[in-house]
Amino acid sequence: MSQSFIEQKNVHHSLGMTDADVIKIYRTMRLARLFDERSELLQRAGKVAFHVSGQGQEAAQAAAAHALDLAHDMFFPYYRDYAFVLGVGCEVSDLMLSLFAKAADPFSGGRQMPGHFGYKAKRIVTGSSPVTTQVPHAAGFALVAKMRNQPSVSFVTFGEGSSNQGDFHEGLNFAGVHKLPVIFFCENNQYAISVPYVKQMACAKVSDRAAGYGFPGVSVDGTDPFEVYAAVKTARERALRGEGPTLIEAQMYRLMPHSTSDDDSQYRSKAEVQAERERDPLPRMLMYMMQTGIWDDVKEAELKAECVKIINAATELADKAPYPVAEDTLKHVYEGD
């Protein structure tokens, strides 16, 4: 619940970040939020079938993306990571094409659900629905980086509920034994669908789990982009020095229902959600930038307008884009088919 970064005026300078860095992160957050809100609308309007929201998680995602090396690192995002994938180079139109399940969807050619990323050109590794399978993959890429002596770090995200899967344990353990360059980034949004944190695990923090793998675990305020940025930077440097993985827990709150198929009033109160809206990273980041003097109402209006234009254009493009061809269902089971 730290309000610290808002109160402090120059957190970002003390972290070696320029004003432009901050604006870039904010822009990513803003774009992701607008995409997310638009997706909700499109779903409610019956234009698309399904959306899974990342609202409340944008600060952590955008800041983490900004702390990574887009030319060398490898990314293993999970389904809420719109801000993250925008931060590492995806376009809103990519997200929209995926949301509409159109042929030009770069993640899967309209095959997978929205939120299932994968884009080799952007160093995003293909992901699936069964949670946490990507965690050992991230270790596998890191193993190869170590074998080939490449300055590449695997950055993999997952929810806190997913840290209860066997693959979490096995993946972190493998990376720990071989001191692999991996950042395990848990977006702890307090719920696994309807199951609250206390019914998921009995340790106080997800980061407590790192002790079992012999590498550091840190918990940060996931609504504070600067804390997240600093933690990811530190973890990345550690990884590059050959000292091995870090488990980062970014603590936050899932502001929306689990997905458009979920009714969260079945398991949590409106009051709880309302209270958590106080920590919504977007207005707080805006306040920080205003207070710091690098932002003002005019710039905000301009940005908003620019983002809306992007979203509108992407929506139109995706809406009009063709679906895949029926017979192409048979393609790409094996090489050459």
Partner: protein
Amino acid sequence: MAKISYLEAIRSAMREEMERDADVFVLGEDVGVKGGVFHATKGFYEQFGEMRSLDTPLAESAIAGVAIGAAMAGMRPIAEMQFADFIFPATNQIISEAAKIRYRSNNDWNCPLVIRAPFGGGIGGALYHSQCPESVFFGTPGLKIVAPSTPYDAKGLLKASIRDNDPVLYFEHKKCYHSITGDVPEEDYIVPIGKADVKREGHDITVITYGLMVHYVLRAAEELSKEGIETLVLDLRTIQPLDVDAIIAAAKQTGKVLIVHEDNKTGGVGAEVAAIIAEEILYDLDAPIQRLAAPDVPAMPINPIQEKFYMLNPDKIAAKMRQLAEW
């Protein structure tokens, strides 16, 4: 008799068994407070309390493994896999443990466990919320596998599964939940595991199927009936152990057999059904044994064009049936 939905049949089977027997309880992701993502356990938390409608951590191998332990301890757990696609992390517990407990202990221990798993597609679920994983477990002795198509069968088979003293995988078709309704007796009944059911009599061709496809086949059979072709439709209901007698009888009746399933063709349950017929009554056949199933691709895409291409439907089935009838 009351007309209820397939989902309500499943829910009421569990509810009644839990009321009848204090050893029955449900566990799984979101089955407690929320009442299940499909609401199969809606109201259970209120009626039976937290411990008997237990929200578990997100960990399928533990859900299966803890349920196996509880079953060996004398309870009758019903473990829910949120989607059948997510049963795979529990494979080792199911195949190495549940299936082998009675056998390896020489009958000293047993495992009266039900694993419920919503399966099947045609609901815009994409690759990982549409799969038919039954063929992965089919052929593992020690497991029973059922896949009902109607509310009557769903309720009766779930009760039979809960009362069974061996592990049962219960595949329930998501698309049937609300779209299929049917009459169900007010009084307690079971549908025995291992018994197929003739859902329609006919003397021209035989179609053997299960799950959602039963309804599509019946629709196709209606269509063909108008053309003068009468179809015997055998609903397997239980996939393991297969009702070999019923399969043989149904095949013999017409001499022309089509096996239909939603799962992809190669290595599916249909292969075994075909093999049994080819082994037992080859000389009674008047046509090659046909199979109609999903294409051999990893799973169905989400976009509506390709989902439709992937999924069978009454028209595709009718076309194949017509072909067989004309053989």
